[in-house]
């Protein structure tokens, strides 16, 4: 039996996934040649922190894409959550004294409330998709516009400055040499990996993603899993929103514009299939790190943000091409 398991394992490490690791290694080599000090502990920790924010929503996106869905609303929920956090810490904004903290209730409760709201928005995504039978793309596009609009509406378009120390700790705090947010991210990765690999929930989720009809006939309720993945995605977006607000010391409705696309890119570069049912959180880390590294290297090279986007687009396209060549899952592969 041992050899059988081993054979199966070997089969899964395809050429395409190797090419991803190779890309990462090349990026690290380039970066450390360009910037001496790149691999210093200090800088690695900084990188890890900068990856974490995108990292959270990419984990959520992985769940959604595993269920053969797509969540365009994550960046908006992220921004909205930061604004809600800011508002709840500056309740007095309505009373005219913006600069002073006036907590509506203790910060941990605010965190829980924000997380609950994010989860709720994701839950609504899931409900709209499953009960109203709206396609994932359209439903979450609606939520994307709605949540961003809500963020502007409740903040009146203003940036809410200065958060309390506990909120700041979420984004800036250090535990020894390690950024707290990175610890949080890695914990999320571990928990989600265990969830996907070692629980009935995870196994059933993969089944629903690959073939909801067969899953239903096998006694699994695909509706439950669809709603669950969007709720998880909403929760992680809210968590990212709290950490991001803490990092910037702002509640800002304009934050993380276009990040939903970076998250999707990270998932796809990691190798999770749009067709659903294939991939995982560990692969997504690879995608997040590759995207983060490319941006980092481009910045070190002094390339401006706009051309950076262009290059990112090319990279994404390449990743999809390699992915579809490997799996023959591209839409035209059978034409």
């Amino acid at each position: 039996m041992k050899t059988n398991l081993f054979q199966g394992f070997r089969q899964r490490i395809a050429f395409t996934s190797l090419s991803r690791y190779l890309a990462l290694v090349i990026l690290f080599v380039i970066a450390s040649l360009l910037a001496p000090g790149f691999l210093s502990l200090q800088n690695v920790m900084n990188l890890l922190r900068s990856f974490s924010f995108l990292g959270f929503i990419s984990i959520g996106m992985t769940f959604v894409i595993l269920s053969a869905g797509i969540d365009l609303s994550v960046a908006s929920i992220l921004a909205f959550s930061g604004v809600v956090l800011g508002l709840f810490q500056h309740w007095g904004i309505y009373l005219g004294h913006v600069d002073k903290l006036s907590l509506i209730f203790p910060t941990p409760y605010i965190f829980l409330t924000v997380l609950a709201i994010g989860t709720l928005l994701g839950f609504v995504n899931g409900l709209v998709i499953t009960k109203l039978k709206i396609v994932d793309f359209a439903a979450t596009l609606g939520m994307m516009v709605f949540a961003r609009g809500l963020a502007f509406a409740i903040s009146g378009g203003r940036t809410i400055f200065n958060l309390d120390s506990m909120a700041l700790f979420m984004g800036r705090g250090m535990v020894g040499n390690i950024p707290f947010v990175a610890i949080l991210w890695v914990s999320a990765i571990v928990i989600c990996t265990v969830l996907l690999r070692y629980t009935v929930f995870g196994k059933n989720l993969y089944a629903c993603g690959e073939n909801p009809v067969a899953a239903k006939l096998s006694g699994i309720d695909p509706v439950f899993y669809k709603i669950a993945v969007y709720s998880i995605s909403g929760f992680l977006a809210a968590l990212a929103g709290i950490c991001m607000a803490g990092r910037l010391n702002l509640g800002e409705p304009r934050v993380a514009q276009g990040w939903e696309l970076d998250a999707i890119a990270a998932v796809v570069i990691g190798g999770t299939s749009f067709a659903g049912g294939k991939g995982g959180v560990v692969q997504t880390i690879l995608g997040v790190v590759i995207i983060g590294m490319i941006r980092n290297v481009l910045s070190v090279l002094g390339i401006q943000p706009d051309p950076q986007e262009m290059i990112m687009g090319g990279v994404l396209l390449l990743a999809v091409i390699f992915g579809s060549l490997g799996s023959r899952k591209g839409s035209l592969a059978h034409a």
């Binding site: 394992f9 196994k203 009809v213 239903k216 006939l217």
Partner: protein
Amino acid sequence: MNPSDAALLEARGITKIYPGVVALDNVDFQVNAGEVHCLAGENGAGKSTLIEIIGGSYSKDAGTIRMQGREVEFASPRHAQEMGIAVLHQEIPILPHLSVAENIFLSRQPLGGARLVSYAEMNRQARRWLEVIQADIDPRTLLGDLTISRQQLVSIAKALSLEARVIIFDEPSAVLTIAELKRLFQIIASLKAEGRGIVYISHRLEEIFEIGDRVTVLRNGKLAGTESIGRIDRGTLIKMLVGREIDESQTGGGASSVEGLAPVLEVRGLNRKGVLEDISFTLHKGEILGVYGLVGAGRTELARALIGADRVDSGDILLEGRKLKISSPREAIRNGLCLSPEDRKTQGVFLEKSVQDNICLPSLKNLKGGVFLSYGKIAKYAADFVSKLRIVTPHLQQYVKFLSGGNQQKVVLAKWLGMKLKVFIFDEPTRGIDVGAKEEIRGLIKKLAREGKAVIVISSEIPEILVISDRVAVMHEGRIEALLRRQEATREKLMAYSMGAKSE
């Protein structure tokens, strides 16, 4: 060289190699004008690969294809089409939202003034081709609104309009009813009379003997032989197909009388508007109830209603005397009912998942070590069924899509076996499976009944129904037309009842 002497299509030494598998090994195949050449072989024998190569979809690694003596090299399906080869796939690739005429003239629409598409001309031409095969179809109907059999007629019209000289039918009988198949055979006969070459792929031996002039059998990617139909009998053909002899006349064992058996499942007055009408029957412990009927008679719908996949308007389902309220397959399974669905590949198994994952999926909650899943237990559980059911797979992590149809069906069965269920419903359990594996699957189903499970087997194949059932329910237009004991069930009776002839 005289072109009229040469075969219409001649493939020589065709070889196709996939990484690790030789799909076709030096296969010769030829089609003469005015003949129906049947192509048979177990699943995975290489029939599809050969057809795809002849149809220009796949490239070949070695060998030559000649058409009337001239060597050709097909670069694409379109190229093969232009050379006069039409492949009618089992799953007809159609654009359901376009009209019949638009489908026929896809990418070669007749143009009118200003080089714009002329719909009038297109419809006129389409009507003409449909008339040739006496298909009473309005070319302006949307293709998606037609039944599968009529869609097939449209494909034939399209093949004719392409001036195809070689027309390849890929298992048409899998989706057609008996009456439709008869019609198709008439059309094929007339195409043959016109001097076209027909390639007919089928699993069903009766058809091969009915329609074929010659038969070519592939086995494991190799040519097992090409014979004239007149010169062989059933036994020889089966032997060619499986490489060994199988006694087809073998009848089912076990109890032939259901009297005295405890009732397990009672269905009373099940109704679903336009689909099921007043369905009532009782299923006993250890009994196999065969359900026969033509396509569209409501067999699959009955199965789906029983396990809660479709809702019903009225009626009761009782399990061991207890009234069940089932609104989803999940609840059905919890209550002890399961379905092995008709469309195995899209509904029964997860093609992109491993054998292990497929087998264990419904039983995962019993395969935990503490809070988390235990992969040791999972592997052991799966390995147990793989050896018990003799599922042929190189290892547990093999994707199910790489297994043969028979082994996929065994995987579906294995999925349910470990769950202590009471009622097993099989919808077309042996469809599209090779002869040897059919026997094995039937054996496994009979074993289930012997172990005291209540079993329903839905099938379109009368011999299968007769071999496996203790009783037979014949369905017609949503009703159970007759409920026969095996002793009373004959081929003729089943056919008659299924077509709505209520005798007695």
